[in-house]
Symmetry: C2
Subunit: 226 residues, 2 copies
């Protein structure tokens, strides 16, 4: 039962004028797996759009499904309404950043941050297909806690109607990273200042149950495993 394998996306996003940085090009990456990993690790993106000629940057939940990102919100929210009105799509920039460490150099100039970020440029489109919209909403819940969609009451008609979803395809994408230690000037190495990296840690504390849980409701395994 062999057949033609499904088409595989290239392993890297093609660089464009917008995704090649003017500074520190050695920190840029277009690797698809790396981009996906950075996106999947985040909870909140920063979504930029233009309103009345000025930039607006808002934090919002997002989820990735293959090569598409989804953002949701109230049908009354301004960027989502604007995407609905924009027939050709609303120009957006969606950025996800993880701060991994503080880099303390001997010189003030070489202080830095270890980070991993992804910047996506493109046109956001209103999702109107009911099936795609429901899959996107499921992905948004599962992005917060994997497995959670199956253990919650699905959205009803009224809730679906009150929710707008926009889609942004992963086409014009780059990652940018700084990793490793300090980069001091050779002539500064003998200075008496401590230098090194302070790693930042992320984690969860114990889940706090709602006081009104139905009797006998246990902490689900997907949360105990966090």
């Amino acid at each position: 039962m062999q057949g033609t394998p499904p088409p595989q996306p290239a392993t890297a996003y093609p660089p464009t004028g917008r995704t090649v940085p003017t500074r520190s090009p050695e920190r840029a990456s277009y690797d698809r797996e790396l981009v996906h990993a950075i996106l999947d690790e985040g909870y909140v993106c920063h979504l930029g759009f233009v309103r009345d000629g000025a930039p607006v940057v808002l934090p919002t939940l997002y989820a990735r499904v293959g090569e598409r990102l989804y953002v949701h919100g109230s049908t009354g929210s301004r960027p989502l309404r604007a995407a609905g009105r924009a027939g050709a799509g609303l120009p957006v920039c969606l950025t996800v950043t993880h701060v991994d460490g503080l880099v303390l150099a001997r010189s003030a100039f070489h202080h830095s941050i270890n980070y991993r970020s992804v910047v996506v440029h493109g046109l956001a489109h209103d999702v109107t297909d009911p099936g795609e919209k429901r899959r996107a909403l499921d992905a948004l819940v599962d992005h917060v806690v994997p497995g959670r969609t199956a253990d919650s009451r699905p959205a009803n008609k009224k809730e679906l109607a009150a929710t707008a979803v926009i889609r942004l395809d992963l086409e014009e994408v780059s990652a940018k990273l700084r990793t490793g230690g300090v980069n001091d000037e050779p002539e500064d190495l003998a200075l008496p200042h401590w230098a090194g990296v302070v790693p930042l840690r992320k984690g969860h504390d114990a889940p706090l149950a709602d006081p009104g849980l139905a009797p006998g409701t246990a902490l689900p395994s997907y949360l105990a495993a966090l």
Copy 2:
């Protein structure tokens, strides 16, 4: 020796058309102390600007000095060059977000995130005064680790010339927060799904010293206290 007290800024930023949200206005705040606290807790902001009519959102270090924010970068970086060229200032939106918890409701629809964010709209100006520029750079280092500027080699002329600093005044500013527990519909309370909040934790791991520290260089007290 009583005199006229120094002028105090109002305790709240005046709301504007851009800083009053269309959704969940009860989550918005204009309280100056709250805005300062959210800004001072972050390491990286997301800076939005418009290039060729499209939005660009980049993560970058920042620091607050009173009612001013500073962002720095290479003199070759695109937003900083644009701010230098824009005589009247470059329209930007600077956003800082902390993700505090995952809110798991019984219904998919009421899943949410506890967060605190600050959004600043305004015009970014190139900092040309040498004294202000040096104070801004000191603040950027001290924002990463308080007390660090005094324990590092200050920027020399060449480094100062290679660094651009832009200033954004805190005038059109709002905070937005979600705190607390789940907001399920009354008819969902008896459902058998676990509901509650998963608090997210931030912290530091032990500092990793550069292998080439000058002999006898101890971990400074401001790092041991982190």
